[in-house]
Each structure stands twice: as C-alpha cells, then as structure tokens.
Symmetry: C2
Subunit: 367 residues, 2 copies
C-alpha cells in the first residue's frame, strides 16, 4: 500500500467522522470520494462480515437523479435492459452502455415514482453521459447529483439491526425492493441490496446532516450484535462474483463479455442508444467472457494491474481481481477469458508479479 494525500477534491462523506473514529486503516478513491477498504485487516473484516453485521460508508455510490416527464424514456436510452416492467418501489441492476455497446457504468437504478429515478453509480461520471444525452436529445428532464449518500448495512444480522432502529416492517422488504422509513422525522429510502453476498440493506441518506445521527443510532442499537464499521470486502466480493467497474470491466467491454447478458433484453429495449451495436453480440454471444479463476499455490500478491492469462505462447485473457480466500483455501480470482479457453476446467497459467502460477477456469463463483 502507498500513502494518499488528502484534498477537498477527494471528497469526505457525511459519515467520515464515524469512519475515522472506528479506526479505518486504508481507503480507495471512488467517484472522487473516500471509500474505506480496511478496518482491522481484510481477512478479519471478512470473517466478521460473514458472522455479524457491518455498517459501510458507501457514500461514493453517488446518485444521478432523473426527474420529469421524459425520465422513463431517458433511462431506457441508457441501458439494454427492458425497463417496461419496472414498478415504483423496485431496484434494477442496469448495465449502462454507450452507442458502441461499451459499458459506461453498472449501477442500480431505483424507481422512486413514474417520473423520478435515482441511479446509484459505480466509479465513473455517469452524470456527464446522462446530462449530455438529455441535452442532445432535448429531453424534458432534470438531471443532477442530489445530496444522497448511501449507507450499507451488511451481514447475517443486518435485518435484526435494522428492525431495532426502523421497526419490524424492515423484514418485509423483498430483495431489490425498497420501502420508505422514518428517521428523526425524515423519510429514508431503504432497499434490500448491497455489494456483498451476506444479505443486507442500503439506506439512501438524503441530507448530509442526517449522516452521523443515523450512524450513531445504528451502533447504539447493535452493540450486542457486534456491529462494526466495515466496507466492501475484496475477498468476499470475489468469492461471490460481484464485479467491480474499472477493475473487472471498462468501456472496452460489452455487458455480454461481463456475463451480464441476463440483464440485457436487447431486442425489446427500444430506445437504448447502444441497441444497434449490441444486437449482433446478443445473438451470437461474445468471444471473451468473465470467468471465475482459481489460482493455485500460495497467497497471491495484491492485483493492481491486469495479470495475463496464457496457454504457452498464447495470451488468452487477463485476471483483473484476485485474493486469497481463507474459507475456500485457495486464491479466488476474476478474469476475462477468450472463448477458446473459457470452458470449465481449462488449465492455464497466470503471470503474476511474483512469477507464473498454474490456474484453472473454475465452474462457478464460490459463494
């Protein structure tokens, strides 16, 4: 790890005070905002996440708010997923593509009402693309970044913790649905979602002033649940096959290459600006695709650049994320592999900074 110089440009969040008091050890920068990466250690955080409950400052999932008569039309222009069936109260994972079908972001869209959406973004200025399209097509919408900072509550005890703070109604929220709850007399959108496979919720905190009161209320209510400050965990998210935009995919990739074909309805997603470009790949399939990769041997070093996947002299793909998994007792990894080598069980080599390692295209993500 290296040191980072702080500045206003790397934005603090409404929860930064709590994060610092909890002893954050390292950050990454995500949407020009500080995102914690380690509290105790990546492995200790991982074990705790799988057993208890954690509160995550994911304010860096900035929102793009789209409001107005053309909101529904605009959001369909952004994605090859057919949104006609989406109802207010639902969250949809929506690959966002440009006119070439290249991925610009992979956010969760939250439909607040027929003419109002939040798009909870991964690490790219999706706001600029949405504003550009809205302006260029002269759509009747307002597009901006509201003062909304998501706080995730993740882990097997997440539901119990939230029920103590918001009431038993929390238990009725279905996966990728949201409800509106009250905190200190203010409305709070709470969705059953989050960037882990341990279950949990995302709270869309509207108004920075609510940040620390809510943070403190969760920690007070959860003391006997062993609630801790946490963050998206590298090991757990690779085990679960949760992709990271910028790491595992970029605007060079189509959703199909990313294994997101099931979120694309390219034929019926009329209006999507990338539809023409994607029709052929939707029909024929991609020539490379994301796969779980097991890297054999000892713990691999941190993966901070693409590691080539090779078969002899042939460069057949790249590993983009990797970590040692204590639970599966192996190195779990995510890579993009060419069709010739993506069959389950294919033996390949991965060139890591510490040397060449044997690896196998694995059958499915681990968790």
């Amino acid at each position: 790890m290296a040191l980072i110089s702080l500045s206003r440009r790397l934005r603090r969040t409404p929860f930064s005070e709590g994060v610092e008091a909890a002893g954050v050890k390292a950050y990454t920068v995500y949407n020009r905002m500080l995102l914690p990466t380690v509290f105790e250690s990546v492995e200790a955080d991982y074990r705790h996440l799988k057993k208890h409950v954690q509160v995550w400052d994911v304010s860096c999932e900035r929102q793009v708010e789209i409001r107005g008569p053309d909101a529904g039309k605009l959001i369909q222009m952004l994605t090859p997923r057919d949104l006609r069936g989406m109802m207010p109260g639902q969250c949809y994972y929506v690959p966002i593509v440009d006119e070439t079908g290249g991925m610009l972001n992979d956010p969760v869209a939250v439909k607040l009402s027929e003419d109002r959406f939040w798009i909870s973004i991964a690490d790219s200025d999706l706001l600029f693309w949405v504003k550009g399209i809205a302006n260029g097509y002269r759509l009747d919408v307002l597009v901006d970044e509201p003062d909304v900072s998501p706080l995730a509550v993740q882990g097997p005890k997440a539901e119990d913790l939230l029920a103590r703070v918001f009431g038993e109604g929390i238990r009725n929220i279905r996966f990728f649905r949201f409800g509106v709850f009250q905190f200190q007399g203010r409305d709070l959108v709470i969705a059953r979602s989050g960037y882990s496979k341990q279950g949990g919720f995302e709270l869309y905190v509207e108004g920075a002033d609510l940040g620390m009161p809510l943070w403190n209320a969760l920690f007070e209510a959860g003391a006997d649940l062993e609630v801790r400050a946490g963050c998206p965990n590298l090991i757990e998210r690779i085990e679960g096959g949760l992709l990271s935009y910028g790491n595992d995919m970029t605007d060079d990739n189509t959703p199909h290459e990313c294994g997101l074909g099931r979120f694309c309805n390219t034929n019926t997603a009329i209006g999507c600006v990338g539809r023409d470009a994607l029709l052929r790949v939707a029909k024929e399939g991609p020539v490379r695709q994301i796969r779980p990769i097991e890297i054999h041997g000892d713990k691999v070093p941190p993966c901070d650049q693409l590691w080539p996947i090779v078969d002899g002299d042939q460069h057949v793909g790249n590993v983009s994320s990797a970590a040692w998994s204590p639970d599966f007792n192996t190195n779990v990894a995510i890579g993009m592999v060419r069709m010739t080598h993506w069959t389950v069980g294919t033996e390949v080599d991965v060139i890591t900074p510490d040397g060449v390692r044997p690896a196998t295209v694995f059958e499915a993500f681990w968790a």
Copy 2:
C-alpha cells in the same frame, strides 16, 4: 495522510516504474489514475522545482480525442471561449461548461489539425459529456480516449534539458504552442505549457511503450542539471494561482466565479451549449469570485475540505486550497469570496480544523 489500497481501477501509467524507482512517497488519484504528490517532501520538492528541472508523470491528464468533419463544431459547443481564431499548432485553455454554465472541466485543448483535437483534461470524465453531446446532436465525429500520456518537464532548466534530447528547435516553441519532434523514430507532440509557473513543457507521449525509454533518456541527459522526478507542487501552484478542478471549483461554479472570464467570449461563442446561461453573468459579473487569501499565523494543517470564510456571523466564502509558503513566509490560499468581501485588503476569519485564523483578501497571487 492515509493509506491507499491499490487496484487495477486506480490505473498505473507508462511511467509508474520510473516514479517508483525515484522513491515516490505519496499519491493522489486523478481521473482514476495514480498521480504522485510527494517525492522528498512537499517543501523540498518546491525548492528544487524553482531552481532546477523536474520530470512529472501527469499521465492522469487523459486526452479526449475528437476527430472528424464536425470536430470544430463540437469543441465550440463545449466552451464559451471563441475558438474561431485557433490554429493548428496552438493550445487553448478552455473552460468547459454544461447547459447551465456550470464548469465540467478546465482542460487545455490542443489543435492537431482542422479536424482533430486533443483535450487534455482535469479530474472529471469529460469524455462522457463529449460523447453524449456528439451522440445527441448526431455529429460526424469520433470521440475516444487515445493511448496518450503526458509527461511534463518543468523548472528553469527545462528548456536546456529538452534541447539536449530533442535539439535546439525546442527553444523556438512559443508559450501554449506545440511542435512535433522525434523520439526513437516516433512523433511526439511537445507543447510549452504545464501546471507550474517555473516554465517548461508537456510531452504528449503516444504509445505506452515509449514511456520508460523517454523517461530514462531525460534522466540520462539531465544528470548534471540535477533533474529529478517531481509532481505538481501544492505550494507552488497556490502561489501561482493555478486552480485545481474539484478543489477550487466544481460544476456548481461558472467560469466567471473562477476568475476565468478572460477565457470566455460568451457573446461570440456561437454554438456553446452553456451560452444562454452565461450571457447574463458575462454581462453583470458574478456575485462571488476566486481570490488569493493570505491566512495569518503559523503553518495551517492540510486543507482537505472547505474552510468557511466568515465575518462575524456572516459566512462570506470558503477556502479550498491552502499551504505554508516558505518563500513568502505566510500561508497562501485560494478561496471563493462573496462580492461584499472580495475587495483587496478585506479582513476576514477562516475557520480551520485547528481554530479560527485571521486572514486577508490578498491583492494578487504571489507568483
């Protein structure tokens, strides 16, 4: 300072190997790319920059390339600066605004030919806005991020160093002009520009494979000039009034608020999508504006969030960047101040994390 977790998402550059070998001590993240911030110390780097010559890895100034018959039309849509007089071979500093006149970036545009531009961006995904506008208005252009990584050579001996590597022709490049030079048989655009007031050049390195050979050639040629690896220096850039997008201005600000009115020709910049929004502010002037602020007393702490500028109970502005200046023996700062308090010599208070400090609206940037 805090620790940063590295990942592929925070991109390495063609010069990272050289930067690491030179003993980089800290980074910031800029356009999802690593940008060094400290080598020896911010103050030692500052003294060296003012006396000798430094090589800066500013690959994070990513390029937005615009090519095609509508390239000139598109670039004029982005900025209130009138570009009709811009000739191939020229660089223009161009405030980029959205349809509300809010600043989206403050890059340098490089006109390669009548139908081809590079926009060398500050820290935001300007690419997304440009692609959105190009798509929405159905312009006949290609827009993408090419494999071009700028390397800056800054300091009083910069010209001598480059003359040794590229020949005496370097000396004829005028300020904000560029020439095309050869390195290892490949063309290299070299402009007299850079993010310091010490003079120097920016080399637009096309092709990542050229990175380390060029880096090494500069260090070999400059050994007796005391050439060192360096980076944009916080103290020097505040002394010189070099603004930082994301720190000193955001999309909340118009160019006029940022003191960039001299780069706006709003009346004649026909086609600029923000023109209507800016016409009034161009005529009447802004109600707040960026000013140099001298903060009295001892060295201030690192400025990682806005520091309120107050006059008694009145909140009259914010400091966005601040540092102790050894040469001027005071704390130099950049702030946005309301009209009621922006007159030179106005005494105000600045609320820093270490307490309230007396401060003065200064007459001009220091260098």
